[in-house]
Subunit: 160 residues, 2 copies
C-alpha cells in the first residue's frame, strides 16, 4: 500500500462567489479578476470548469470577512460579464491533502474522495495540483473531515 | 510594480474528459475516480465547480495518449454516476504561472488572464493554488501563450 501524503491542511471561514453563465471568450476572466485585484481583495482559489453552450461558471473563494466587499465589487461588473447570475455562500472550509508527486500517482485523489464520502462529507468544489488535492466542504464538517483524512492517509494528527 | 512570478510551465498533449450533470451528493467523486486509479490511469488535474440544481460537472485531464482508456473506463461507470453526459476534447495544453505566496497577493491571476486575453487565447478551465495558477487552453496556442506569459511576468525565456 504505497499511497502516502505528507499532511492535511484546512482553512476555515471560507466563502465562495460563483458567477454563472459568463461568456466563454477571451477577456472575461481578466474583466472579473482585475477589479478585484485593484481593490486589494485577496482571492484564494479560482475554479472554472469547461463551458457548455459557450458559457461557463467561474467561482472563487475569499475569506468570510472579505465576502461583502468582494460581492459588491462583482455586482458592479455584471454588465461587462454579460447576462450572468451571481451566487455566494459562506461558512465553508478548504481541506487539502498535501504531498508530492501526487498528480502522477493514481489513487491519492480517489482516496481523499472516498474518505470524505464515507464520512458523509459532501464535496462542493475540487481543484488539484501536483502537490495538493483541495476540496471545498461545509465548515461545520471540517474538523471531522480533517480527522478522517489523517486516519485515511495514515498521518499522525498534530497535538491538540 | 511588485507582481513577480518565478516561472511558466506548460504541458502539451493534454486531453480533458467532462462528466456533466452528476448528482451532488457524497460518494460520486469517489465512484468516478476509484476505478480510474485502479486501472492505473494517471489523472493530472481534477476540476469541479459548485453545483446548480443539485448536479454539477466534474472534469479531469489526462495525457492525450491515455484518453481512449480513460474514456472507456468512464463510459462503464455512467450508470453509477446517474444521468450524466460525457464529453471529451484532446489537443489541449496546461499553462501555469508558478511562484510563491501568489494566493494572497492580488494581481497574479488577473495578470495571467489579461496576458492570455490580449493574446486572444481563450481559457477553457482554471485552477489555482498558493504556488500555481493553471489554465487549460488549446494546444495550438500554447507556444505563443508561454512566450506572452514570460513577457507579461518579466521572466527570461529559457534558451531555445
Ligand atoms: C470564461 C473565461 O475564462 C474566458 N474563457 C476567458 O478566457 O477569459
Ligand atoms: C459531485 C461530487 O463531488 C459529490 N459532491 C461528492 O461529494 O462526491
Amino acid at each position: 500500500n504505497r499511497i502516502k501524503a505528507t499532511g492535511i491542511a484546512c482553512t476555515n471561514n471560507v466563502a465562495k462567489i460563483t458567477v454563472r453563465g459568463v461568456p466563454d471568450r477571451p477577456g472575461v476572466a481578466a474583466a472579473l479578476f482585475e477589479p478585484l485585484a485593484q481593490s486589494g481583495i485577496s482571492v484564494d482559489t479560482i475554479v472554472q470548469n469547461t463551458s457548455e453552450d459557450r458559457t461557463t461558471d467561474i467561482s472563487f473563494t475569499v475569506s468570510g470577512t472579505d465576502l461583502p466587499a468582494a460581492l459588491s465589487k462583482v455586482e458592479e461588473l455584471s454588465t461587462e460579464m454579460g447576462t450572468c447570475e451571481l451566487s455566494s455562500e459562506a461558512n465553508l472550509a478548504a481541506v487539502s491533502v498535501v504531498g508530492s508527486g501526487m498528480q502522477h500517482t493514481p489513487g491519492y485523489a480517489s482516496r481523499m474522495f472516498r474518505v470524505l464520502a464515507d464520512g458523509n462529507v459532501n464535496i462542493d468544489m475540487i481543484t488539484t495540483s501536483e502537490i495538493r488535492i483541495s476540496c471545498i466542504i461545509r465548515e461545520e464538517q471540517a474538523q471531522e473531515a480533517v480527522k478522517l483524512l489523517h486516519r485515511g492517509f495514515q498521518l499522525d494528527e498534530p497535538n491538540p
